[in-house]
């Protein structure tokens, strides 16, 4: 299998765990995997991206523009920021809940994400997920990183079986939060199933 998956959001949203789970699941399924994270200065409240590359053909750890099969975005503007990476027939799964820049109160921009979502809908195939509604039953937006994996897996576009991903979640999430995370994954999967491509 050859797949390029880009995961993006804002520092602190849990994108790294999501990328680690995808990478580990793909390896579990027998594929060669490379990935890269943006870390360092860029991480403080700034945009973060993880590139996960599955398959023999990937030599560079970074996905070229126009090659990502899927973008998992934890935030509307971050999806737009990384849209150039998407294959013209790729898919974006995006959280509609905006994260305002930390400087918003000092230098107001009025950013609320709606313009970004409208733009994405115009430009590509996308599944828009209301992260707030999705995570409400679990009491924290922290579960979004696992929920979005559920959406991705059930959409059939990730190319990795749901069961394998669930096993990786079990391996990586502390026992105390495991049940809630599994439920979040399931809730995401229900959304993804509505868009399933066979």
């Amino acid at each position: 299998m050859k797949k390029d998956i880009l995961i993006c959001g804002v520092g602190g949203q849990g994108t790294v765990l999501a990328s680690k789970i995808i990478a580990a699941s793909a390896m579990e399924a027998g594929d060669l995997v490379h990935s890269a994270e943006t870390i360092g200065m860029a991480q403080r409240g700034g945009p973060v991206t993880s590139h996960v590359r599955i398959g023999e053909e990937a030599y560079s750890p970074l996905i070229p523009f126009g090659s990502a099969d899927m973008i998992l975005s934890f935030e509307p503007a971050e999806a737009v920021r990384n849209l150039r990476y998407l294959k013209p027939d790729g898919i974006v799964i995006v959280n509609s809940v905006p994260v305002k820049p930390v400087t918003e109160s000092l230098m107001p921009t009025g950013y609320d994400g709606t313009e970004m979502i409208a733009y994405l809908k115009k430009k590509c195939t996308c599944i828009v997920v209301d992260g707030e509604a999705l995570c409400r039953p679990f009491g924290s937006s922290r579960y979004f990183n696992i929920a979005i994996l559920g959406v991705a897996a059930a959409s059939g576009r990730l190319g990795i079986a749901k069961e394998i991903i669930l096993r990786e979640i079990e391996r990586r999430v502390p026992a105390k939060y495991l049940e809630a995370n599994k439920a979040a994954f399931q809730a995401g999967a229900e959304i993804g199933a509505q868009y399933e491509v066979k």
Binding site: S35, A42, Y59, P61, P64, G66, V80, L83, P101, T109
Partner: protein
């Protein structure tokens, strides 16, 4: 066993597999995880340390290498500047056990002051350098680097770049590591004491030897030629090789020459690879190193060849390369039709900018604010330094007039006030930077009768690079509890006339200390002591009560990300607020209170 690790992890495991006995370094992005991986693996019989700075790390390792041990020294590229004094001499003296110095370059730069190129440093110091293009290769290559170092009794440089350091790949590594047997130091002052006569003799030896190493590198496994026999060839090294290879998958006729050992340049290998080639494009980051080497090679051998790269403007002179940039450059070079199909985003709405800021509740914000308020209207120089606190330059604090290199703020504060005797020179330095290269600057101030105020922002960690311990934390890399080096005692010992320690989160007390010091002559120091919020438990939370005038003073004065506006009303975001209480000391009507549980 297979482990999915970062490039830095692969480097660490490669060194451990080579039987490394001692690992030392100073933290710096993108190199820090190497020492951390070694420490986490807890290899028995291996000494691991965060040294106080790169020079110390180099010297500790040098002595171990004199004793026959295999040693690993790690740093970022600017750290190599600090360590260059011992390295330059060590290149003449040589080593007994294998010594590999990892200096991680940072094209972009993504988190550094400079875009310097460690390959140049290798050429300058006349020592070999290895340039890996992936984590898997780094794992193999560093083991070769130890062989090379021991065979030629020389320290060897190893230079990954950010994208190799921070890429992840599966590495097949042994479960357990065995350090080498250390033969011990054999005294011989003719060998280990550097004197002009020795340097003269060794210089000649080194030049001769480097020709030999260049020959040996010409058949090295990571200097490779792929593709067909095209007249137009491509030369690449490091991560640029990975980018080029990926693009050239679809153009298998194009000859791709990869250079894994930039110095000593593998001349006969490159000469042979260029046979039948009329034009070559050099793809590399930072500096046109390979490009210039090839030009020299052609000149010396009367080879007629068009050489393209940075010097001809075909490759950007600065910044990092990417698969996309390289695809564009190669399309032009190979005169390929068509563009990659990608979504046109030229009509995208304006994206929110997300500049890096000090965290909510960060004590540095309070320290800067106290100095700013106390010195309002006075003629001051605010000299910054390297660390999270460089972010004190952002609005609304605007408290960083200069930032040059590690420790420079302390000495620069002196220089400014020698030129403006009425001015008050402030230097802001973090605790780790103070130990790394701040102390000599304070001695300079005391010795030369300078007037300055040293502000040590002591948050008990090395926050910027991922919270490493340092001499002031009472903990070392092996996890031992050690004697804390007390900053106040160090300063008093040096002869600083006034040393006060304050809690920056107590605004009045902190401002009082600043005012008092500003009116005293000589060298004064204020230690602003409060732990980094990223590693300490929040003390509580604050909220805004009904008395709020919605004047926005709290937001405008300190810019804490925890202070937001919701439907026009000033509010505190409970997810971000750490309850530091700084804003509550600024509010004119006492509307901000701690939430009582």
């Amino acid at each position: 066993m297979k482990e999915y690790v970062m490039g830095n992890g692969a480097i660490a495991y490669g060194a451990l597999k080579a039987g490394v006995n001692l690992v030392s370094g100073y933290p710096g992005t993108p190199s820090s995880e190497i020492v951390e991986t070694v420490a986490k693996a807890k290899p028995e019989g291996v000494h691991v340390e965060w040294s106080v700075n790169e020079k110390a790390a180099m010297e500790v390792a040098a002595a171990a290498a004199y004793s026959g041990a295999r040693t690993l020294v790690t740093m970022k590229q600017v750290g190599l500047n600090v360590a260059s004094d011992p390295l330059m001499s060590l290149a003449y003296v040589g080593v007994k056990g294998g010594m590999v110095v990892v200096s991680a370059d940072d094209p972009g730069p993504i988190s550094s002051q400079t875009e310097q190129d460690t390959r140049r440093f290798a050429e300058f110091a006349r020592i070999p350098v290895f340039d890996p293009s992936s984590p898997e290769e780094a794992y193999e290559m560093i083991q070769d680097a130890y062989e090379c170092s021991e065979k030629y009794a020389t320290p060897v440089l190893f230079r990954p770049t950010t994208r190799v350091d921070h890429a992840y790949a599966a590495i097949d590594r042994p479960e357990k590591f065995e350090p080498n047997r250390v033969s011990g130091f054999i005294k011989n002052s003719k060998k280990w004491v550097i004197f002009p006569r020795l340097s003269f003799a060794n210089h000649a030896m080194i030049e001769k030897r480097n020709v030999e190493i260049g020959e040996e590198f010409s058949s090295y496994r990571f200097n490779t030629v792929e593709g067909g026999n095209s007249k137009k060839a491509v030369v690449a090294s490091g991560i640029s090789y990975a980018y080029a290879k990926e693009f050239l998958e679809d153009y298998p006729d194009v000859k791709l020459i990869r250079i894994g050992t930039p110095y000593p340049f593998p001349e006969s290998f490159v000469k042979k690879a260029l046979e039948g080639v009329t034009e070559v494009l050099s793809l590399e980051e930072l500096s046109p190193y390979n490009e210039e080497q090839i030009a020299r090679l052609c000149g010396r051998n009367g080879i007629v060849l068009t050489i393209r790269g940075k010097l001809t403007g075909d490759v950007p002179a600065s910044g990092e390369l990417s698969t996309n940039l390289i695809a564009g450059i190669l399309r032009k070079y190979l005169e390929l039709p068509g563009e990659a199909s990608e979504i046109d985003v030229s009509d995208a709405p304006e994206l929110p900018v997300r500049p890096p800021v000090l965290c909510a509740g960060c004590p540095h914000r309070a320290s800067f604010y106290a100095v700013k308020k106390a010195m309002k209207g006075r003629n001051c120089y605010f000299c910054g330094d390297i660390g999270c606190y460089t972010l004190g330059n952002a609005m609304p604090l605007d408290m960083c007039d200069t930032c040059l290199c590690m420790g420079a703020g302390i000495t620069m504060a002196q220089g400014f006030t020698w030129m403006d005797k009425e001015g008050i020179g402030f230097a802001f330095v973090g605790d780790s930077t103070f130990f790394a290269s701040g102390m000599t600057g304070v001695v300079n101030a005391v010795y030369n009768n300078a007037n300055m105020i040293l502000c040590v922002l002591d948050n008990s960690t090395t926050a910027m690079t991922g919270h490493q311990p340092h001499p002031g934390t009472g903990r070392n890399m092996m996890g031992d509890i050690v004697e804390k080096v007390d900053i106040a005692s160090v300063l008093t010992g040096i002869g600083v006339s006034k040393v006060v320690t304050v809690d920056p989160l107590n605004l009045n007390e902190a401002m009082g200390a600043v005012r008092m010091c500003a009116d005293l002559p000589g060298v004064k120091a204020i230690i602003f002591k409060s732990p980094c919020v990223a590693i300490s438990k929040p003390v509580g939370k604050c909220h805004i009560t009904g008395g709020c005038l919605n004047c926005g003073k709290c937001i405008k004065e300190i810019g804490c990300p925890g202070l937001i506006r919701v439907n026009g009303r000033v509010t505190i975001d409970p997810n971000l607020c750490t309850g530091c209480g700084l804003c509550s000391q600024i509010c004119p009507v006492d509307a901000i209170q701690e939430v009582t549980q």
